[in-house]
Amino acid sequence: VGLGKVRSGRVSMAVWDLSVTVEDLGADAPPITVSVTSDLHIGGVILKLVEKSQVKRDWSDHALWWEQKQQWLLRTAWTLEKCGIQADAVLIFMAQHKSLRLGLPNGLTLRLRACFSGPVFRTVLGICKMLNIRRPEELSLLRPVEEKKRKKDKDLSEELHDLTEVPLTSVSRPCLYNGMPAHFADSLQTEKVYKMLSVSQPAPAPEAIAKLYRPASVVDKAHIHSRWLDSSRSLMQQGVQENDRLWLRFKYYCFHDLEPKYDVVRLTQMYEQARWAILLEDIDCTEEEMLLFGAIQYHINKLSLSEPQTMTSSPAMDDLDSALQGLEVKLDGAESSPQDMLENLTAPELNDYLKIFRPKRLTLKGYKQYWFKFKDASISYYKSKEESLGEPIQQINLKGCEAAPDVNVAGQKFCIKLLIPAPEGMNEVYLRCENEEQYSRWMAACRLASKGKSLADRLFQSEVQSILSFLAMQQTNPNTHTDDSMSINTHSLVSPRYSKKYKVKQLTPRILEAYQNVAQLSLTDALLRFLQIWQALPDFGISFVVVRFKGSRKDEVLGIAPNRLIRIDLGVGDVVKTWRYNNMRQWNVNWDIRQVAIEFDGNVNMAFSCVTADCKIVHEFIGGYIFMSTRSREQSDTLNEELFHKLTGGHEAL
């Protein structure tokens, strides 16, 4: 064959047979053989192939995959010769979009069609577009951690949320319909999927958390980062098969332009990723921080369950109603003179018999009962109800105070611990209430007063309600197993370390205490607050890689953060040195010896080889973060894909 070509020169090319497997005909079907010449372009090959297969269907998504070279033949104008294809090439004709099982940050798995032929960066773009996640450049795909095959036989079929039916063409423009992108509104099933994407998941069972893989050391964490796929190559090229499982995760921890109005899914998934990072001790935090995270999780769970799926409901709208009602009330009354009107603005009161205890006085008297009156952010108490018209025994102004619960539902103890600032220091006062109902009203009043708000504030009722509902959580009454989905085991809100450290009844009051500070947040604000505290953790956003620095004999850890590189001693965990991207002049990767070399201002040079991850991953992290920093607020919606590849591509891009 080859000789014929030489003899006939340029005029007539030798015809040879090229056999191509058509995937859609089934695994057992023999390859189809087409006659080609070397100057036939790829498009021509496909045309012949389709004709010969005699299958009438839409082949537009199909392309040729060259098995030996592990590459797609996507340039249809290129000739076989230019591609270097000869008769021994094993070619497969298959769809570029295949179904993929995609693990989301919230732990659920989607089945959807993803692009297997474009670079992973492009694939992620497509997935995010479908899922309605803005800023897809911050996410990427990674191979999941192998689950321990403990239950080999059971192999509980995980719930899959199928999105493969969503026609890809309809995804192009995300216009909202019924509060969700139009392509989700097609069927009830996809609507359900959208809800799953945009509403945070209920708290997992503590046992489930304990069972999941937790990185025990910084080396374990480093191994997770060796799983990131290469953004500049396609899924097929990286050995990902149809129906394989991959994780979609936020990879670059600089979240640009977060806008709750448009970022419902993005925000929810970000929260889920943060939540799991904390629950699985992927990121370290202090006890106080953990309790606060627990409290916000509880709050978010509660709101997600109770809030009807009208995404548009904004607290401002509630304000309108209540404010207007307030106005009506104020203007009510026969003679609404300004005085009357303004007097109606004054706060209502609380009046009750309560018990008070002041530990400072060093007496063993304990709690004494008085008649208490709560008005205008201060508490006055009297010997009895009858004397309440006279002079109070004492008046306590609560502005600026700290009100902490001291509650044991089982023991029917409902105390409010007040720490009241005074010029001489802080005064400690305990108020003991009779029951939940009384406690919740007084506690709500104290909390509002501490912020300088009065009982007239519209928050009062909701504060009362949230205190009541939290108290209900503590009622461990297994007999009345109602459909009360609100009752959550507080162990499911903290990481296993704290589950082990504290019993539920120790943990719940502490979470309750932290909960007081967040109970008034709206769902969106709660999500944002959670993310904010997460982002403020010292270890936030650091991706670890085990490396060996040039001239060093031991393995060390390189932490890659959004703004800096950190050299960490593997043994002690101390930060040895920090380099900021700000001062970076250039970095080079020697792909032959797989070494990264970086030069900083002032002739500071460093070089290392990667132990746990491929140096392409490290290169991509550094280039990716630099790319993220180039995004500006003005050109908000344009993504400079070319630049991303230039910064992260490595030798493939050149």
């Binding site: 370290d284 109603d321 080079n588």
Partner: protein, 662 residues
């Protein structure tokens, strides 16, 4: 401690003699006559059966409420408090009546009961007592020709209706009558000030009074705003047409509302916008949302009605708010031992007060001008942050406080932003940094989705409670508070013990704790609740080895506590400085445009993406034979995002050699 309440009417002169040299001050004067006013009201109230407070005989057993008696602390007096009985609505009728009757009694009463307790005056229930309706008018006759004859509750009032229109109408009515009341009270205030000063402060000559008056009027918006709350309606004919204010009250210009508007930053403006709509019904607010940004001539009739409605309600509510604003007269000490007296209203931030002080004092603009609180008793001081509310902070002082408020230039205030590299990078040694890098660093730290608290950690000395001994501990600063490493543990986050959370405490510089508490060094800081004013176990004292560490910790704590607000404060301060510079320089326009853009890093247009795009392609052109990826130095430029030239970036060779290391 000398208390005004112990003075008799006739002793006012004596009081002036034995107090300090600034007796001619406005505050003293106000204090004096308001003190009298209080006593008189009290004596009047004592006559009533419903009076709650029979002060001397039966005082509260323990006085824990330091809010109750804040009015006359540190020689400042809250006029509005006394007049308006605090935050719960204004009873202008009774107020006026009180004033008038006081005036009457002033001239007749010889010596009021000197044992009267002035505590708890402002919030007192007694002021809530409504006087007999006739008294106001009656008393007013003598008050010097105010428009007292018109009762504030006058005007026709429709019966309550349920729909919004009627409510709006009602509100309008209410606001109108509020205006009247305000006008009357302002006038009667002015007139009774005149009277009282004649009677009670006889030593102050008429001329000095008027000079004080004019000074305060010119320099203090707040005073204007208080004395003339209602020019707008007074100047424009009202539908009722009834109550034109007396000539005296209309003489002043702008309603304060507008003045404040121009001071607000856009963010707050937006908040206001939102707030503004929060009292409208659903329908109207929907309409309003729809028409936002639409030119007015394109609006439908319905929309216009809705808009008007909203506007009216807003105006009415604002007036209600306006009437409740508290004012304080404060004394500000300068570095040359002199002092200034000024009035601040409770809404003013430290920045606003600083601005007005700067306007007055002609001391040259600099962002370093600060209001510093010094607590003598505890030997500590703190620079107030620009966003803080001054009145709120000052109300924490005790009645007999020795505390001082200083107006002084302090470089510590914004050193953090001038040399961020020394504070944000956790470095041990000071260093220089290029300006554009500083800006990038600040933006990175403060303008992200969350503020990154500098990683402060190290050994500090902690004073043991109640002892003069100090022990070393390893402390760490986190966004959630200050922690320390317990003995025998590594500094893993999970093992840290929380030393203090920052929500409720402020950080202070300690002064000379070496001698006061036997501190190991002079570089001490203290953390305490702002209300604590005396020695207490609740105050925590820390001591650093050197002054650098001290400043780093204090600034770290400020960042953890205030976050981005600090940076916004700084930018705001810089803007003022630049604006001032513009005025003084001749080539104002060019500088203005240049400087204002550089003060707002986030508004800079960044060409970096195109920059680095260029860089990459250039890089590619240079070619790499080996399998290497080269990223040129210009990437670091991209990171720095320094450029803001209007011209498109030029293809220039990289300033740094693009070398192959292999």
């Amino acid at each position: 401690m000398e208390q005004l309440s112990d003075e008799d009417l006739d002793h006012t002169d004596g009081g002036e003699e034995d107090s300090d040299k600034e007796d001619q001050d406005l505050d003293k004067m106000f204090g004096a006559w308001l003190g009298e006013l209080d006593k008189l009201t009290q004596s009047l109230d004592d006559g009533r059966p419903e009076t709650v407070q029979k002060a001397p005989q039966k005082a509260p057993l323990r006085q824990e409420t330091n809010m109750a008696n804040f009015c006359n602390r540190f020689s400042m007096y809250n006029i509005n408090e006394a007049l308006n009985k605090g935050g719960e609505g204004v009873d202008l009728d009774s107020l006026m009546a009180d004033l008038c009757s006081i005036e009457q009694e002033l001239s007749t009463i010889g010596k009021p009961n000197s044992g009267k307790n002035r505590l708890g005056v402002p919030g007192d229930a007694k002021l809530r007592q409504k006087p007999p309706a006739g008294r106001g008018t009656k008393g007013h006759g003598g008050a010097g020709g105010s428009g007292g004859g018109t009762s504030s509750s006058g005007g026709t009032r429709r019966p309550l209706a349920s729909n919004l229109d009627d409510i709006t109408a009602q509100l309008e009515q209410a606001s109108l009558s509020m205006d009247e009341a305000g006008r009357q009270s302002s006038h009667s205030l002015a007139s009774s000030v005149g009277t009282v000063s004649e009677h009670a402060v006889r030593s102050i000559s008429q001329s000095s009074w008027s000079s004080v008056n004019s000074a305060s009027a010119s320099s203090m918006d707040s005073l204007d705003s208080y004395l003339r709350p209602s020019e707008q309606d007074g100047a424009t004919p009202t539908p009722q047409g009834s109550n034109q204010g007396p000539p005296g009250s209309t003489e002043v210009g702008q309603p304060v509302k507008n003045k404040h508007h121009c001071k607000y930053n856009p963010e707050r403006e937006r908040e206001r916008e939102r707030e503004m709509h929060s009292y409208l019904d659903w329908e109207t607010s929907l309409i309003l949302q729809n028409i936002a940004g639409k030119p007015s001539h394109l609006l439908t009739k319905e929309e216009q009605v809705a808009k008007k409605k909203a506007e009216k309600i807003r105006v009415a509510l604002e007036k209600i708010k306006e009437a409740q604003v508290k004012k304080l007269v404060i004394r500000v000490h300068l570095s040359d031992e002199s002092s200034k007296t000024m009035m601040v209203d409770e809404r003013q931030t430290v920045r606003q007060v600083l601005d007005s002080l700067l306007d007055k004092s002609h001391c040259g603009y600099s962002p370093d001008w600060s209001l510093v609180e010094t607590i003598n008793e505890l030997q500590m001081e703190r620079i107030f942050e620009d966003h803080e509310n001054l009145v709120d902070s000052l109300l924490n002082w005790t009645r007999d406080s020795q505390n001082r408020l200083m107006f002084i230039e302090r470089i510590e205030k914004y050193a953090l932003f001038k040399n961020p590299q020394n504070y944000l990078l956790g470095r041990k040694e000071t260093c220089e940094m290029a300006d554009r890098n500083k800006e990038a660093l600040l933006e990175e730290c403060f303008c992200g989705s969350s503020v990154s608290v500098p990683e402060m950690e190290g050994v500090l000395w902690l004073k043991e409670d109640g002892k003069k001994s100090w022990k070393k501990r390893y402390f760490l600063l986190r966004a959630s508070g200050i922690y320390y490493v317990p003995k025998g543990k590594a500094k893993a986050s999970r093992d840290l013990v929380c030393f203090l959370q920052l929500d409720h405490v402020n950080v202070y510089y300690g002064q000379d704790y070496r001698s006061k508490y036997k501190a190991p060094t002079d570089y001490c800081l203290a953390l305490k609740h702002p209300q604590i004013q005396k020695k207490s176990q609740y105050i925590k004292y820390l001591c650093c080895d050197d002054v650098r560490t001290l400043h780093q910790w204090i600034n770290g704590i400020r960042i953890a506590k205030y976050g981005k607000t600090l940076y916004v404060n700084y930018q705001e301060a810089m803007k003022r400085t630049e604006a001032a510079y513009d005025w003084s320089s001749l080539s104002s326009s060019s500088i203005k445009s240049g400087s204002s853009s550089s003060s707002l890093p986030e508004s800079q247009s960044t060409h970096c993406s195109s920059d680095s795009g260029v860089a990459v392609s250039e890089n590619n052109l240079s070619g790499h034979s080996r399998s290497q990826s080269q990223v040129s130095s210009i990437f670091s430029e991209a990171w720095k995002r320094g450029t803001q030239d209007e011209v498109p970036p030029v293809l220039t060779p990289s300033p740094y050699p693009v070398t192959c290391l292999y």
